[in-house]
């Protein structure tokens, strides 16, 4: 088990796979049985992935801070370097998510239609940004 969890493939391959699969599957499963036909909304998981990335970054910062505080930390310099930039990354990421969510709110919905997202500005662009954010975050975390 340790070998599986500790392997680079788990972090680089399994984490993105499970994140994408679970986010879509849970959206579909949690809907009423009569309305389980897939909709665009099910695949609009860009913001979910962005939020996951932010939470991963916050947890990583917390872990680095704990490592730095522990006596005899072997990689104190590494922790300090990352902790210097992480608050900036998190702040800028939150600003980006706010901007993107406002763009989707204004531009991402079909006119005169209730709760129907536009394909590109509502689903695909946020999805691509979310996937990129998740992959970069997973790559950043060591």
């Amino acid at each position: 088990m340790y070998e599986v969890l500790g392997s680079g493939y788990f972090k680089d391959f399994i984490v993105p796979l499970v994140s994408v699969f679970l986010t879509i599957a849970i959206k579909v499963v949690s809907r009423r049985d009569l309305f389980i036909s897939p909709t665009r909304d099910d695949f609009a998981i860009g913001f979910d992935l962005l939020t996951t990335s932010l939470i991963l970054l916050v947890m990583y910062s917390s872990k680095l801070a704990i490592d730095l505080q522990s006596k005899g930390s072997l990689n104190a310099e590494f922790c300090q370097k990352k902790l210097q930039i992480l608050p900036w990354i998190i702040t800028l990421a939150i600003l980006f998510v706010w901007g993107l969510s406002s763009v989707v709110r204004i531009w991402g919905w079909q006119n005169n239609q209730n709760r129907i997202l536009k394909l590109w500005p509502g689903v695909i662009i946020p999805l691509m940004i979310g996937v990129a954010a998740l992959l970069l975050t997973v790559n950043f975390i060591e």
């Binding site: 680089d12 391959f13 600003l95 901007g99 204004i106 992959l135």
Partner: protein, 186 residues
């Protein structure tokens, strides 16, 4: 709309510029191979999710019994087809099935979540409809009466709320709309 977009877009540009500056200033080296493996992981995750959605889509969401007499078969068959579009497994029962199918009917009613009964002048005279109502009640199933014409609802099911009543509304809606309303009502 363009004015509203200015502030969010500026904030996105600022944040991306900031992230790029941090990337170069602190020399954060992203490795290409893990990123490519990650892309493959995301793609696989999507394929798995699509397969999951497709498998789930085929599963009937609800089992209902739609009981009507042979004389009402035209609207009954049409209504059954409309319900099937919502992945509802409809067991269309008409009095043509005869009286020797008591056990099968009993089994089917036990497996159903709802029993829809089309009430009409014809059905009032039908022993078959009476039997379906009696079986449904003995199996504690929720009966949904749908009144098609001027017929009175039988006393045995008068306590159940009527879903559609021809006396209150005209049946000018097509059966698809009726099915749609029923889906949202149950």
């Amino acid at each position: 709309m363009a004015k509203k977009l200015i502030l969010p877009i500026i904030s996105m540009i600022i944040s991306v510029t900031g992230l790029v500056i941090i990337f170069f200033k602190y020399d954060i080296g992203f490795q290409i191979t893990p990123l490519l493996i990650g892309c493959f992981g995301v793609f696989t995750g999507f394929l798995l999710a699509l397969t999951f959605v497709k498998i789930r889509e085929k599963k009937p969401s609800l089992n209902v019994i739609l009981a009507y007499t042979f004389s009402d078969r035209e609207i009954g068959d049409e209504f059954a087809q409309s319900l099937e579009k919502y992945r509802i497994k409809v067991l269309s029962e008409t009095e043509r099935l005869g009286n020797d199918k008591f056990e099968i009917e009993n089994q089917e009613i036990r497996n159903a979540q709802y029993v829809l009964v089309l009430i009409s002048e014809h059905s009032r005279k039908s022993h078959y409809i009476d039997r379906i109502i009696s079986l449904s009640k003995s199996n504690s199933k929720r009966i949904i009466p749908i009144v098609l014409d001027q017929a009175e609802v039988p006393k045995s099911i008068s306590k159940y709320p009527i879903f559609f009543n021809h006396k209150e509304k005209n049946l000018d809606e097509n059966t698809h709309d009726l099915a749609d309303q029923l889906i949202h009502a149950i």
